[in-house]
């Protein structure tokens, strides 16, 4: 058994707004082992980013961690002093943010921004840090690193900025790197390079990674274990192959169905998840996914939300129905119901018909 690096227990992060309390993270328990790569997936606004920010205690106002425990190597993060949390950030756990275009200080040189990430902690002296900046930029494949350290962010392209962010995150060799949508803002070829890079770094340095994304392909290529979040809760968790091959929660199934695949030919239509994620200040009763679930039964609406139950080896899901109990006809019906009758008919009809002689 690998050593547990991060243990999050029953974490609640809430936002106190004029519209009421928004439960962004609503009782989450999970762990990250040393050296492993954990994927956290879910739609926008399901609490992925807030979970990550809670770990670093960087939840923005008016948000607050209201209860729960965050243990890093057994030390309680929520009870750290200001100085302890400062030294913890970037040193033990580093985070790479979503948008490389806005996440770098526009008026400070790239090299300086990476350097200060190191000098903020005791591990590197100023001279040592300065030399390491170039080494780090080379490692994340920034060409001409020696001269580019003197550049400002606006002189870097999006992909280069994301590399600089990764270099910054890795600069202190943290035990855990949280990457929040690290490739979303980038074009596809750059995405592939960044993924390769992260894979390699994970292998070479043994850095554990928590990858927050809604990109299923990214999870498949990088992660060993996956957590699926919905409305601030974990709805399914398990090893990546099992989640992809036999998802048990209808939400996981729907997420996977909504990703286009080349190998399954084009026989299947892409299925979108109907409706919108619930308002977290006023979530629906029972299972929070039931208003959008294609396999909903009465129990989902009336009974309190089910707990996470064992559905496979190391796989848990929070559902009364479970996909293995759904018949093939049920699945087909669900796929069909995702499209309105009109839309389905339209899709079957030809887009353009030409009649008559080819006028010669």
């Amino acid at each position: 058994m690998a050593q547990t690096l991060l243990q999050v227990e029953d974490l609640h992060t809430q936002f106190f707004t004029s519209r009421g309390v928004v439960r962004a993270v609503d009782g989450i328990t999970f762990h990250v082992d040393a050296g492993e790569t954990l994927g956290v997936v879910g739609e926008s606004g399901c609490g992925k980013t807030m979970t990550a920010l809670s770990i670093l205690r960087l939840v923005p106002d008016p948000g607050k961690i209201t209860s729960g425990r965050i243990l890093f190597r057994g030390k309680e993060v929520t009870k750290m002093t200001d100085e302890e949390i400062r030294d913890f950030r970037g040193n033990d756990v580093a985070m790479i943010f979503q948008d490389p275009m806005t996440s770098l200080n526009p008026v400070t040189k790239i090299g300086r921004q990476i350097e200060e990430a190191m000098t903020a902690h005791e591990r590197f002296t100023e001279t040592l840090a300065r030399g390491r900046v170039i080494e780090l930029l080379k490692r994340v494949r920034v060409p001409a690193a020696e001269s580019r350290v003197k550049d400002y962010p606006h002189q870097f392209s999006g992909g280069m900025r994301q590399r600089a962010m990764i270099a910054m995150g890795l600069s202190n060799e943290p035990s855990l790197l949280i990457a929040d949508e690290p490739t979303t803002a980038l074009d596809v070829t750059v995405q592939a390079q960044i993924i390769q890079l992260m894979k390699q770094l994970n292998r070479e340095l043994g850095t554990a990674m928590m990858l927050i994304t809604h990109n299923m392909a990214l999870v498949a290529s990088l992660c060993q274990r996956v957590i699926v979040m919905y409305a601030g809760r974990i709805v399914e968790e398990g090893p990546v192959e099992q989640i992809f091959n036999s998802p048990q929660h209808p939400y996981t199934w729907s997420l996977l169905r909504s990703v286009p695949r080349v190998d399954e030919a084009r026989k299947d239509r892409l299925v979108s998840i109907r409706g919108l994620p619930p308002d977290l200040s006023n979530p629906p009763p029972g299972c929070k996914f039931h208003p959008r679930c294609p396999f909903v039964i009465d129990k989902c609406r009336t009974d309190p939300e089910p707990s996470l139950s064992e559905v496979g080896v190391n796989q848990v899901a929070r559902c009364w129905v479970l996909m293995r109990n759904v018949t093939d006809e049920g699945v087909e019906a669900a796929k069909a119901s995702a499209l309105s009758k009109d839309a389905a008919a339209k899709l079957k009809a030809p887009v353009l018909e030409v009649e008559g002689d080819a006028g010669r």
């Binding site: 996440s103 200080n105 526009p106 903020a120 606006h154």
Partner: protein
């Protein structure tokens, strides 16, 4: 494109950062010539369109037509206005701003050199007060948003911005000169008027600085609050930087950029003198001299003062534009 039109030596200069900065400054200074020309043209036109003549109130009585005629001939006012304008321009080119009408035998340059130092001293001191106090209060209010510090600071800024400065000046005279004199039996008080010793400067400088301090504080607060919410500030916290560095290097370095923009016009406003402040505290400064010159249609004095003010404003704006290059690497000079 432009580089291709320049001789090779110049192209080499423009390709360096310092070179392009020098060219930018030189070009802006050259631009001041047409700007000043039009400022003089407009002032000259307005001045002559205004009713009345320089001799209406001279000596406190009506002058005879012969005397007026002689005066007009002496100062060239009998010539057609366009010709007067051209004559004025040609003398300005030789840095000759003419003789004042109201102060016989004194040159405009001499009068400006006499009165402007008083105004400039107060203006520069007020400016030096605005930067730490205005910016400081704004930053403090932003960092302690929605606390008592924030409310008190912004309350002060609102009051300071709402009160006319002749009221503030008069209130200060009452409190710090009259009442303080009575209360301490003459041991401590600030002089209510005049100019000479350092004590004389305190109240005018504070009165003059209050309004710009209020504006600067509000602007700084708004700009800092906006910066605090930026993604790169979150990045700075996530790196584990100490608060001091996050505030100075990441928040202030960005949030003060718009504040610097306003400091140029503020400086120009301060050193061109406030008639009100100079009147309340009886300071023989340029603000009052300007108003008196307009009232008595002292044409050369009006023009001379306008040219000086225009130069001050143009130079202040140039300094801000150059300062931008050093505080914001994204700014490119064109």
């Amino acid at each position: 494109m432009r580089g291709a039109l320049l001789p090779p030596q110049l192209t080499a200069i423009t390709s360096t950062r310092a070179g392009s900065l020098t060219i930018f400054i030189v070009r802006r200074i050259l631009w001041m010539v047409p700007i000043l020309f039009f400022v003089i043209l407009i002032t000259f036109t307005l001045m002559h369109l205004a009713p009345g003549s320089p001799w209406d109130k001279a000596g406190g009585r009506q002058l005879s037509d012969t005397v007026v005629n002689n005066l007009n001939i002496r100062y060239g006012l009998n010539k057609p206005v366009p010709q007067q304008f051209l004559l004025y321009i040609s003398s300005v080119v030789h840095f000759d701003f003419g003789l004042s009408y109201q102060y016989q035998g004194k040159t405009v340059s001499g009068l400006l050199l006499e009165s402007w130092p008083y105004t400039a001293t107060i203006g520069v001191l007020a400016f030096l007060l605005i930067i730490p106090v205005g910016v400081g209060l704004g930053v403090l209010a932003a960092l302690r948003q929605n606390t008592r510090v924030d409310y008190i600071t912004m309350g002060f800024a609102t009051v300071a911005a709402s009160f006319p400065n002749f009221v503030i000046g008069a209130l200060m005279v009452v409190a710090l000169s009259v009442l303080a004199y009575k209360a301490t039996g003459g041991n401590f008080f600030l002089p209510a008027a005049g100019f000479g010793v350092d004590d004389h400067l305190i109240m005018p400088v504070v009165t003059l600085a209050l309004l710009p301090i209020a504006y600067t504080a509000r602007l700084t607060r708004a700009s800092t609050l906006e910066t605090i919410r930026q993604d790169f500030v979150r990045t700075a916290w996530a790196k584990g930087l100490p608060e001091r560095l996050v505030v100075i290097r990441h928040i202030l370095k960005n949030s003060l950029i718009p504040v610097v923009t306003t400091l140029g016009p503020t400086f120009a406003f301060l050193v061109t003198g406030s008639v009100i402040v100079e009147t309340v505290f009886s300071i023989p400064g340029i603000g009052r001299a300007f108003v008196v010159a307009i009232e008595s249609r002292d044409y050369p004095m009006i023009l001379g003062t306008t040219v000086l003010f225009s130069l001050v404003i143009a130079v202040a704006n140039l300094i801000v534009d150059v300062a931008y290059v050093f505080i914001d690497p994204r700014v490119r000079l064109t």
